[in-house]
Amino acid sequence: MRWACILFPQLALDAVLRRRDDPQAPLVLLSGPLQRRVLQAVNPSAQALGLRRGQTLTVARALVEHFDCEEYQPQQVEHWQQFLAAWGYRFSSHVSLDFPRALLLEVESSLSLFGPWPRFEQRLREELQALGFQHRIVLAPNALAARILANVADGLAVDEAQLPQRLGSLPISRCGFAPEVASAFAGMGLRRLEQVHALPRASVAKRFSRAVLEHIDRLHGHLPQALDCYRPPDHFHGRIEFNFDVESSTALLFPLRRLTADLASFLAGRDCGVQRFLLLLEHRGGTATEVRVGLLSAEREPEMLFELARGRLEPVQLVAPVQALSLQAQDLPRFVPAAAELFTERPQQSLGWEQLRERLRARLGDEAVGGIAAQADHRPERAWSELGQGTRVSGAQVPRPGWLLSDPQPLSDFFPRVLAGPERIESGWWDGADVRRDYYLIETADGRRAWVFHPAGKPDQFWVHGWFA
């Protein structure tokens, strides 16, 4: 087994930074009671100004004039950890969240698909970079060692042979011992783990609780480490809250791009697509505008999801300023990628018909794109339907016009030349749309051919029902 540990050193800060327009602006996260606000996390540009974690807000204000503050929300950290697990689930079937702010992936079984490890690691880093999370990645033969080594290293890949030496050089304080154990070791004059290894096991067992030796054995992989398996949820819920009022829908596009990208990476992890999702524009006072986005088939391309959501969002008139944008997807059907030609004839087969159709529907409306199918009915107005398979109709023996007018128009030509007819079409007495007409094929004075009829028994007025073109 090979375990990759992805440690997120500033998860809470990244969760806030990724929804801000300017991540470079100094930003601190605050926690603690109102009387004594403490800086919980500080971004690099704020750090450059001299702000440090653990300072009180009063001190920070005295040091620096302008910086942005946001509330530190532990439940947000939990939410993003779940999200990252869903992301990691696409790379490994065994994802664990047992350690806070860290993701453990069992990767040996994934290497044949994504490997070798340097390329796999590169891919993980690229995707995390795009998602906007700072990270450290370490590969080790067991989960605990990966997690502990991630404390001190980044980009490390250790195999069984190197593990004892790597672990041995770890400082005691970073080995994951309980604080009193670590300080006891320090008091004994032990600085590195290899010095603890050099002690006789019996004496360590005598002086310390059982957990200490077990911890060391787990680090070396002598004892198994039981880890919970992450199971992805059946729905997606993403929400971005603004700390200002948004009054135009164009300003919602940046957060929308984040949300759809998050949705796409969640879907890729679960190997499913989305057919319907809901955008909620939350206003002051708990009201919300709903924007429904529906697709004809399941999709999960981030660009396409964004463009479709954008197509639905842009025409929306905002009735009130928006304070938060959330995206909910309940129905996640299986995703079947469209089969593409290996050797396409056209050089730029960039957009498949399915994506094109969704794009057209998003702008023109759901009903705008259709097809045509034949129906087995003698009445011309019922001989076609917009959708569906259609019924198999034997080839007409009598000529039919290529264009059918949806509403018959009175014939304005007074001296038409009758070429064929009359043909009586009489049908529909059973469904209320009774038709009794005599149809003629005529040639008009300007040389066109029309399909005209008069109601049976009333030969004084002719109606044009179609044109032969």
């Binding site: 004839e345 056209r346 050089p347 730029q348 087969q349 960039s350 957009l351 498949g352 018909w353 994506q355 094109l356 159709r357 794009r359 057209l360 702008r363 023109l364 009903e367 705008a368 794109v369 259709g370 097809g371 045509i372 199918a373 034949a374 129906q375 011309p380 001989a383 076609w384 917009e386 259609g390 109709v393 080839g395 007409a396 000529p399 039919r400 016009p401 290529g402 264009w403 059918l404 007018l405 949806s406 300007d446 040389g447 066109r448 051919r449 029309a450 179609g466 044109w467 032969f468 073109a469």
Partner: protein
């Protein structure tokens, strides 16, 4: 004359306009009408370009002209899109003409939306042919369609009223249909001189 200039350098600098340009090698798109194929320089429609049909009115033989091409493309599994058709395509007649209806898509759009939809379809490269009936298409809109057809390598047809014949157009091929007598006039064809004589054309006469 000061100096002797080699012909090659002149041509390379593109300071001389050459009347007979070489046609880029594209896939041939026969119209299905042998008389028309014989006079068109590309041996058929201009693939990856706008082919403009100028019609006196609805029902002037435009379907007789297009059906062989559309039937051939749909039979080959290509998608054909009609953008803003002026009436309902009557399935019985289209089936008779050999068009596979499942490969036919119809977009109901008007005005600028129709032009946008046609451009998107052309640009995507996922369609075999796009036939559009724009209501008011100016020179600029047609040029956009022309660029889109070129970048998506898609055959484009634009049906416009006959009165537009006097206005210039960026289309690669312009055909004017006349009813009495039933004939076709080639107003413009890229890659060759348009024949002065009209071609007898009639699907049913």
């Amino acid at each position: 004359m000061g100096s002797v200039v080699a012909l090659d350098t002149l041509l390379q600098e593109r300071r001389i306009w050459r009347g007979q340009q070489d046609l880029p090698p594209t896939t041939r798109q026969p119209t299905g009408h042998s008389g028309l194929d014989a006079v068109l320089p590309a041996g058929g429609w201009q693939a990856a370009a706008v082919n403009e049909l100028l019609l006196p009115t609805l029902g002037s033989g435009e379907l007789q002209l297009l059906w062989p091409t559309l039937a051939r493309l749909t039979l080959a599994g290509e998608r054909v899109v009609l953008v803003g058709p002026p009436a309902i395509p009557f399935p019985a007649a289209w089936l008779m003409a050999g068009v596979t209806l499942s490969q036919l898509s119809i977009i109901r759009a008007t005005g600028s939306d129709a032009l946008w939809a046609a451009e998107q379809c052309l640009r995507s490269g996922s369609c075999g042919a796009v036939v559009s009936w724009p209501e008011r298409a100016n020179d600029r809109a047609l040029r956009r369609l022309q660029v889109a057809a070129d970048s998506g390598q898609t055959l484009a047809f634009v049906c416009r009223p006959q009165k537009e014949a006097v206005n210039s157009s960026p289309a690669a091929v312009r055909l004017l249909l006349e009813l009495r007598p039933p004939q076709l006039r080639i107003l413009k064809c890229r890659g060759g001189l348009a024949p002065a004589k009209p071609i007898h054309f009639s699907g049913w006469h």
